[in-house]
């Protein structure tokens, strides 16, 4: 009885739906994967490659991997990854040579800094409370990292390393170089020849050399010009090098946005009697920066990864500490795991930035368009 009821009902349901050849998973597969002979071939090749790649990769990463143990001997028999390495060495990978007993401090400091950065990302939070949060958070970060007060032993910057170092170099690099880059971009478009020439020279000179040489100059050559007895912290020099370098690239990205803005916007602002800075801050930058969000974030991601080059002047960023963790001969066979771990962490950061960029574009793009 039930069976007959269902079959009699079915034509009624079908009558109100589009033809089954147009909807449903089968139609989707036909339309997107097998619409033509070349498309079908490509689908088959892709499926074959996935079948060849994914199972062994998952097997190495997870199914045959070793997660427990306290030393390299735990992984003797395994055919998969030896995550024991991360279990045993993660403190060194994350914090480098920072005093072992005090490593809770960089951990909290990094979380504070990341929380501030994430909070600043939401347009909803933009305003006075956020400025206040930075005014508290940034000194808190410094106090935790350096110590020397409140019973926390002092930890010099040459002991800083690992993820906190990478995050601080990238975050300060991005945050400080950005306004500097905007000023350079405006300078390059200035009507005053002196400002234009200086900006152009700066951008072209810095863009013309690799970051490694900028860092090398900051670290090796710059101290030669200082009077005797005066030293500037190595970390600070690297940080300044990264800022100066990144700013030149940011400037060209921002300039692209300035040029893409219709001339009428400049004229309307002029005609209303706005001053140069009012025009720039209220009309020009809000629109042109929005236009270049994808390239700006691209540059941010690049800067984040470029911080690994501070290795050249003897700073232990996260990639270097990960690599150094397998310097021990017993662990050396597992260097792939060290790099894989570093790659996963880098990916998490960079992918977050990329997703954030898309969020911001949607959020700001919602205005002014229907």
């Amino acid at each position: 009885m039930t069976y007959i009821d269902q079959t009699t009902e079915e034509p009624v349901v079908r009558a109100v739906s589009p033809p089954s050849s147009q909807i449903g998973p089968v139609a989707w597969v036909r339309k997107n994967l097998f619409s033509s002979i070349p498309n079908t071939l490509l689908t088959l090749v892709a499926l074959f490659l996935l079948w060849k790649l994914i199972p062994p990769l998952l097997d190495w990463l997870l199914f045959s991997a070793t997660f427990s143990g306290s030393g390299p001997e735990a992984c003797k028999a395994t055919t998969g990854a030896c995550w024991t390495l991360v279990g045993v060495k993660h403190r060194f990978m994350l914090f480098g040579f920072y005093t072992y007993e005090e490593q809770w401090r960089p951990a909290i400091a990094t979380i504070v800094l990341l929380a501030l950065i994430c909070g600043s990302g939401y347009p909803r939070f933009w305003g006075k409370p956020l400025a206040l949060a930075w005014l508290i958070g940034l000194p808190l970060f410094c106090v935790l990292m350096w110590g020397g007060v409140l019973g926390m032993p002092m930890v010099e910057t040459d002991k800083w390393g690992g993820l906190p170092l990478t995050v601080v170099l990238a975050a300060v690099g991005i945050v400080v170089s950005f306004p500097f880059g905007v000023v350079l971009a405006l300078g390059r478009r200035s009507t005053l020849p002196a400002i234009r020439t200086v900006s152009t020279l700066y951008i072209e000179l810095i863009r013309g050399v690799p970051l490694i040489s900028v860092l090398f100059m900051a670290s090796v050559m710059f101290p030669l010009f200082l009077p005797e007895g005066v030293t500037i912290n190595k970390l600070l020099r690297a940080q300044v090098g990264i800022i100066l370098f990144t700013a030149a690239y940011q400037a060209e990205t921002v300039r692209g946005g300035l040029q893409a803005l219709p001339k009428g916007q400049y004229e309307a602002a002029d005609a209303l009697g706005l001053s140069y800075w009012q025009k720039t801050l209220l009309i020009v930058l809000p629109q042109s920066l929005k236009l270049v969000i994808p390239s700006l974030v691209n540059q941010f991601i690049s800067t984040f990864k470029d911080t690994s080059l501070v290795l050249i002047i003897g700073l232990y960023d996260f990639l270097t500490t990960s690599r150094t963790a397998v310097a021990d001969p017993a662990w050396q066979p597992f260097y792939v795991e060290a790099y894989a771990f570093a790659a996963i962490v880098y990916f998490a950061f960079c992918f977050s930035m990329s997703r954030y960029s898309q969020f911001l574009e949607r959020r700001l793009g919602a205005q002014g368009r229907r």
């Binding site: 219709p262 009428g264 916007q265 004229e267 309307a268 602002a269 002029d270 005609a271 209303l272 009697g273 706005l274 001053s275 009012q278 209220l282 009309i283 809000p286 629109q287 929005k290 205005q367 002014g368 368009r369 229907r370």
Partner: protein, 257 residues
């Protein structure tokens, strides 16, 4: 009505805008040739002429969106020279409406209107918003105040642009082909606002080919060609009884004779 100076409701004998032997070049191209022109307080002038004749350039020189290279332009007693502060002061008193509206797309209609009063005149936010709403009422779109420009029709956008200029309480309004970018059915709503404004005694210079508008409000019509002022007369005389050959030819073309 043939005497144009008498037609203008003069509040002062000094002209509010005067051009003396003004010349301008774009590279080698001679854009304005020996322009001499005086506009009285409250006078309404329309400029017409073929494209490239210099009419837009002429009115854009008044608020120095374009720079002239020879001669003198005096606006409300101040000569336009390199002085940035003087130029900003003149721009406060000279409103401009563009062919392509040029509203700020990242700001709401209300913010478009309050921007200049708040930042240039340092008016408190609330006062600026009341002023803005008053002008939005006058151009008959107060209900659009919280929308963004892209959500409005072309005619509505141009009316917002007029209101935005009026919020600065200008002494002079410049219109650079205000209806040329509009769909035909939207031209009237913009012209109606402009006619109202003219009837209130605003000094206006308008680049337009809208004959009906010119006849309704203009004290003088100026015909330009190749950077020179060719003929100046009342709109009625200029349209129905042009003296110059080029004027005749041009009017013949746009009237479709």
């Amino acid at each position: 009505m043939t005497n144009t100076a008498a037609a203008a409701p003069a509040t002062s004998n000094e002209p509010i805008i005067s051009f003396e032997e003004v010349n301008k070049w774009y590279g080698q191209f001679h854009a304005l040739r020996n322009i001499n022109l005086a506009i009285a307080h409250g006078e309404k002038v329309v400029l017409l002429g073929p494209s490239g004749s210099g009419k837009s350039t002429l009115i854009r020189c008044i608020n120095r969106l374009e720079e002239h290279q020879a001669g003198r332009i005096i606006v409300d007693g101040t000569e336009l020279k390199g002085d940035v502060k003087a130029i900003e002061r003149i721009r406060r008193d000279v409103g401009m409406v563009f062919q392509s509206f040029n509203l700020f797309p990242h700001l709401t209609i209300l913010d478009n209107l309050t921007l200049a009063p708040r930042w240039v005149k340092k008016m408190p936010k609330r006062e600026a918003e009341e002023l803005a709403m008053m002008y939005l009422e006058r151009v008959r779109i107060p209900e659009q105040a919280l929308k963004y420009p892209a959500q409005l029709s072309g005619g509505q956008q141009q009316r917002v642009a007029i209101a935005r200029s009026l919020c600065m309480k200008p002494k002079i309004m410049l219109f650079d082909e205000p209806t040329s970018a509009l769909d035909p059915e939207m031209v009237k709503e913009v012209l109606d606002v402009m006619i109202e404004l003219a009837n209130e005694g605003m000094t206006m210079m308008c680049v337009t080919h809208e004959m009906s508008f010119a006849r309704a409000v203009a004290d003088r019509a100026i015909f330009m060609a190749e950077g020179s002022i060719v003929e100046v007369d009342t709109p009625h005389e200029l349209f129905s009884n042009p003296k110059n050959e080029r004027t005749k030819q041009f009017l013949g073309q746009i009237l479709g004779h």
